[in-house]
Symmetry: C2
Subunit: 292 residues, 2 copies
């Protein structure tokens, strides 16, 4: 089925969010190709700016991407006392790299993205995100995240997984075996943060992912942020820490070490950090056995 019809792009995904669809009015299709891994589309929209679409699913739009990129980056970074060396898995548009390199304690950022074409097309058409690739702190490798981590032990303080949804190429990034690999790539007290879906859609899948994380990480939690162009208007993150005394909320390292105002943030604040972990009662109850 063609997802652009009558000038509107519609995000239909019967497996992940049956019976609902978000649509954006299209100004023009900037680029369309089938890479080795996925269908890539970049469109210009009437009111959400440029939009990157992989396999028919919106990855980011210029209008609201900062919420996702800032939160997936600064939630784990501000929970860690000294995040010197960071790994980004996925994130081919460059937006997460753009945020991570801002953190003054971060010295090195390594990124492993499977699809070179997403990086190239983002550099060409989404420069406000791809600017993240320009940082001297960043080393980008094209390849498979699983393979990459097998060769990197005890190296990273924080691993951020900016993946597409658990369907197609990214499905393994939601498995217990992926959390095991990340554990071995992390230094002592390391933290992982992964895209984790919406609690309105499939809470049992989130719970399964968190249980996989909990096999290897003593502290596991789930946080959310508002992103109108994602299904149900928000997205969650599964966060795990190897520090068994980890506090995610009101964590001491959030703001003490430097001036947060200098980071040029649009979404993240210390209050937004804490609020991200406040889950609705039915979600809290459903995840209680994993959260504690």
């Amino acid at each position: 089925m063609d997802t652009i019809s009558d000038g509107w792009f519609s995000e239909l995904q019967a497996e992940l969010w049956p019976g609902q669809a978000f649509s954006l009015k299209v100004k023009n299709v900037i680029h369309k190709e089938k890479s080795k891994f996925q269908d890539i589309q970049i469109i210009d929209t009437e009111t959400y700016g440029k939009c990157l679409i992989l396999d028919g699913i919106i990855q980011c739009t210029s209008r609201d991407e900062f919420s996702y990129q800032e939160m997936i980056s600064f939630l784990p970074l501000f929970c860690h006392p000294n995040p010197k060396k960071v790994l980004i898995v996925g994130g081919g548009d460059g937006g997460v790299a753009r945020e991570v390199v801002k953190h003054p304690l971060v010295e090195e950022v390594h990124q492993i993205e499977i699809d070179e074409r997403v990086v190239e097309l983002s550099k060409q058409h989404l420069p406000s995100m791809a600017c993240g690739f320009k940082s001297e702190k960043l080393k980008l490798t094209i390849g498979d995240g699983f393979e990459y981590m097998k060769n990197h032990k005890n190296e990273f303080d924080v691993i951020i997984t900016d993946s597409s949804d658990p369907i197609g190429p990214a499905v393994s990034l939601f498995n217990e075996s992926y959390y095991k690999l990340m554990k071995h790539a992390l230094k002592e007290d390391g933290i992982v943060c992964s895209q984790g879906g919406s609690f309105w859609l499939d809470l049992s899948y989130i719970k399964k992912t968190m249980l996989g994380c909990k096999e290897h990480f003593p502290k596991v939690t789930y946080a959310i942020t508002s992103v109108p162009s994602y299904p149900c208007g928000h997205i969650g993150f599964v966060i795990g820490s190897l520090n068994k005394n980890q506090k995610f909320v009101n964590s001491v390292n959030k703001i003490d070490n430097f001036d947060i105002e200098a980071l040029d943030l649009k979404y993240y604040t210390p209050e937004v950090h804490d609020a991200a972990f406040a889950l609705p009662r039915w979600v809290q109850q459903s995840l209680m056995s994993v959260l504690n």
Copy 2:
């Protein structure tokens, strides 16, 4: 334009949210009529249950309505030390009444709804919401909220305005003159809470509404909750208090007086209450002059 096409209902609203649309797959149209005030549609959807639509805009769905109803009710009720007498303006589906009457300190709830047909159709087709009308605490009046309040001075502890969007019949409920009327209908230290739109859509309109509120209420704030079937996946509330020392966050009356577990809530928790007031940095900065 017909908003149901190929078995999908699409919420197109070029004035309020241009260039974007949310769609729900329709099982069947349960009812459709033009009342004295608006177009009313009730549809059964594939994955969101029953859905009430007024003038083409989704008002509530069975799947996610509890988030809106609980938050518009309990945010103001738990900020007030003793909310004995409450007025609901609008709320013709009964969902807000269902929540407000649960509060053990609430003795009397008065509701003024302009469109009798919304009430009747909700009783017929949306019983899980309209059950709110059955409470002995509730007195429902059909009529105009403005007129009603002119005849009620110094009566209410809390006024909740559960209106449609600021287009068509509800537009006056966002004006400064409405806040003036509510002030006079309130007792000392009374609190108002109104549906206030999404910060992703028209932040300047939210600011204008809040400035209108601030003309009459010394303390004004804005809070949010996640509702996937609303534009941008969430909705905000403008809250004003006549108590110049009002604290909205960490307010003492949230949980001290009774067992919150007894209220049968699915969304609201004390942590969710506080989190609702944590606004993204750019929103906080834009509203700063009103919030302080």
